[in-house]
C-alpha cells in the first residue's frame, strides 16, 4: 500500500485506517530468520544425534563441571577472601517471623500461657534448627509486626528492634539469650538427650564477640541489667509511639516474669540433674565437687 496509489489522500490517513498492530500483523523481514537445524527423525535422533564425533563428548564420559584437564581449576585457584572468608565458621541464625509465630499461636500449636522457648517452637514444628550447621538459634524478624497481637513471654537468640517493639506493645516480654552448640542441641531435642542418660550440662557464656550484644539492654540481652531493660522498654515505646502496658498488673505476670538463669537450659531443671524418662524420676547429684561444678 503506497501513497502513490491513492490520489488526493495522505499517508497518515491510510495509517489511521489500518488495523491495530498485533502479533498477527507482524512478520520479520525476508532473510532475517533462518531455520534451526534440528536433529534427524531417524532412530535415536538420526546419525550422531547432536553428540559430536567420537571421544568423551559422543560417549558421554566428560569429566565433572569445572575440571580443566588436570590444571588447577579456576574455582580452586582463586582463594577465599573478604565477603566469603570463614563463611563456614560464622554463627547462623535462621529467621523466624512474627507472622509465623502468630500463625502457630492461632492454630494452637504454641501455648501462650507458658513461656515460649526454642524447645516449644521446635516441638510445634515451627522452626527447624541444625546446630551442626553452625546454627546458634533463631532471629526474630519483624515481618508481620503490624498483625501481631499475642501476649507472650518469648526467648530468642537475636531480635530486631521492631520485633521487640511489636512484642512489648502487646504486653509481652522478650529476651535474647545465648546457647552454645551443645546446649542448643540439648534444648531443641530434650527427650533424646534425656534418654542418653547424661546430666544436664550448664550453658556456657557467649564469647567476647557476642558478649556486647547480650549485655545490651536495647537488645533485651539476658545478661543485661534489669533496670536498664525497663528504661529501654519505655524508650522504645516512645520511639515507636505506643503506650507500654504495665505487665505487673497482668494476671499472667508470674509467667511473664519467668526468666532462665544464665547457666540454665530448661525452666525448672538445673544443670547437673539427670532426668530419667522410663522411671519418671529426676536424679540430683550429692557429691560436693560435682555440685560445685554444676552450681558455678
Amino acid at each position: 500500500m503506497s501513497a502513490n496509489k491513492i490520489t488526493g489522500g495522505k499517508t497518515i490517513d491510510i495509517v489511521k485506517n489500518l488495523p491495530r498492530i498485533n502479533l498477527a500483523n507482524l512478520r520479520p523481514n525476508p532473510g532475517a530468520t533462518k531455520n534451526e537445524t534440528h536433529r534427524g527423525h531417524g532412530m535415536h535422533g538420526g546419525n550422531k544425534s547432536g553428540r559430536g564425533h567420537k571421544g568423551e563428548r559422543q560417549r558421554g564420559n566428560r569429566p565433572r563441571l569445572g575440571f580443566e584437564g588436570g590444571q588447577t581449576p579456576f574455582y580452586l585457584v582463586i582463594p577465599k577472601y573478604g565477603y566469603n572468608a570463614n563463611h563456614s565458621r560464622r554463627p547462623q541464625y535462621p529467621p523466624f517471623s512474627l507472622r509465623k509465630l502468630q500463625y502457630l499461636i492461632d492454630l494452637g500449636r504454641i501455648d501462650t500461657t507458658q513461656p515460649i522457648d526454642l524447645t516449644q517452637l521446635v516441638n510445634s514444628r515451627g522452626v527447624a534448627i541444625q546446630p551442626l550447621k553452625r546454627d546458634y538459634g533463631i532471629q526474630l524478624v519483624d515481618e508481620g509486626a503490624d498483625i501481631f497481637c499475642a501476649k507472650v513471654n518469648l526467648e530468642v537468640q537475636v531480635a530486631s528492634e521492631k520485633a521487640i517493639a511489636a512484642i512489648e506493645r502487646n504486653g509481652g516480654v522478650i529476651t535474647t539469650s545465648f546457647y552454645d552448640p551443645r546446649s542448643l542441641q540439648v534444648l531443641i531435642k530434650p527427650v533424646p538427650f534425656f534418654i542418653s542418660g547424661q546430666p544436664i550440662p550448664k550453658r556456657m557464656l557467649p564469647g567476647e564477640d557476642l558478649l556486647p550484644y547480650y549485655t545490651d539492654a536495647n537488645h533485651r540481652g539476658y545478661l543485661a541489667d534489669q533496670d536498664q531493660v525497663q528504661a529501654a522498654r519505655l524508650a522504645l515505646a516512645k520511639k515507636y509511639g505506643y503506650s507500654l502496658p504495665d505487665i505487673t498488673k497482668d494476671e499472667l505476670f508470674d509467667m511473664l516474669a519467668q526468666r532462665k538463669d544464665p547457666r540454665q537450659i530448661f525452666f525448672g531443671l538445673s544443670p547437673g540433674w539427670v532426668v530419667n524418662m522410663e522411671d519418671k524420676k529426676i536424679l540430683k547429684p550429692t557429691d560436693e565437687k560435682v555440685l560445685q561444678y554444676y552450681g558455678s
Binding site: 492454630l107 494452637g108 500449636r109 501455648d111 501462650t112 500461657t113 507458658q114 524447645t119 516449644q120 516441638n123 510445634s124 514444628r125 530434650p190 527427650v191 534425656f194 534418654i195 542418653s196 542418660g197 547424661q198 546430666p199 556456657m204 557464656l205 564469647g207 567476647e208 558478649l211 556486647p212 549485655t215 545478661l223 525452666f267 525448672g268 547437673g272 539427670v274 530419667n276 524418662m277 522410663e278 522411671d279 519418671k280 524420676k281 536424679l283 547429684p285 557429691d287 565437687k289 560435682v290 561444678y293
Partner: protein, 224 residues
C-alpha cells in the same frame, strides 16, 4: 508445660495419655494444644539387654561409661546401672574444670577484656585525631609558605631568563654573531662581566663608607 511438649508417641509409650484427656473435655475455643500422629518409637523396655562386663566376648564399646549411661537413660533402674556412675568422676571433673578455666573465662574477666580493647581502640583513634588536628592547624601557614615558595621560584626563573637573554645580547654585540651559551668564549665573557660588576659594587661600597664616615664626623662636628 509437660503435656504440651511431649508428643503423643512418648505419651503412649510412657503411659501418660491421661494428662491430655483432661484437656479434651474443655471447649474447643479454650483447647490450645494440637496433637500429632508420629511414627511409633520401637523401644524394647520390657527385656533390657544387660552386657556381661567380665566376659571377653562382649565388645569393648559395651563396657564403656557412655554405654552405661545410655542404658540407664533407656531402661531406668531396670538396667542395673549404679546412678552414681552417671556423673563425671573426680578425675574427669578436674579435667573439665581445667578446660573451662582455660577456654571459658568468667563474665567479669571477659567484660574487662572488652573494656580494655575498647579503651585501646579509642586511645589510638584520639592519638591519630590529635595528630590530624595539629597538622590541620599548621595547614594555612604551610599553604602560604608553599605559595610563596612557588612564587619565588617563578620569580627566580624569570630573572634567570632575563639575565640569560641580556648576556646573550651582550655576547652577540661583542662577538658580532650568535654565540652558543655553552661555548668557552661565552663563559669567558660571562666571567669578565662578573668581574666588572664586582669592581663596580666594591667602588660603590667604598663610596658609601666614605660618605658615611664623612657624614658622621661632619654630623659630630655640627652637633658639637
Amino acid at each position: 508445660m509437660a503435656a504440651s511438649i511431649l508428643s503423643r508417641r512418648t505419651a503412649v509409650l510412657f503411659d501418660i495419655t491421661k494428662l491430655n484427656s483432661q484437656i479434651n473435655f474443655l471447649p474447643a475455643v479454650v483447647q490450645q494444644i494440637a496433637n500429632y500422629n508420629p511414627r511409633p518409637l520401637w523401644l524394647n523396655i520390657k527385656n533390657p539387654y544387660i552386657p556381661d562386663k567380665s566376659n571377653e566376648k562382649t565388645p569393648d564399646w559395651q563396657k564403656t561409661d557412655k554405654y552405661d549411661r545410655k542404658r540407664f537413660g533407656r531402661y531406668g533402674q531396670a538396667s542395673g546401672v549404679d546412678p552414681a556412675q552417671l556423673w563425671p568422676s573426680h578425675a574427669q571433673l578436674e579435667e573439665m574444670i581445667g578446660e573451662e578455666r582455660e577456654w571459658h573465662p568468667p563474665l567479669q574477666v571477659m567484660l574487662g577484656n572488652i573494656a580494655a580493647k575498647e579503651k585501646e581502640r579509642t586511645a589510638k583513634r584520639m592519638e591519630r585525631e590529635k595528630i590530624i588536628a595539629a597538622n590541620m592547624a599548621k595547614m594555612p601557614k604551610m599553604i602560604a609558605d608553599w605559595k610563596k615558595q612557588k612564587q619565588e621560584t617563578k620569580q627566580k626563573q624569570k630573572e634567570e631568563k632575563v639575565k640569560r637573554e641580556r648576556l646573550l645580547a651582550e655576547a652577540t654585540e661583542r662577538f658580532g654573531h650568535a654565540v652558543d651559551p655553552r661555548s668557552a668564549k661565552f663563559k669567558e665573557m660571562v666571567a669578565e662581566i662578573e668581574k666588572e660588576e664586582k669592581k663596580k659594587r666594591k667602588l660603590l661600597k667604598r663610596k658609601k663608607r666614605e660618605d658615611d664616615a664623612g657624614l658622621s664626623p661632619a654630623a659630630a662636628e655640627s652637633s658639637q
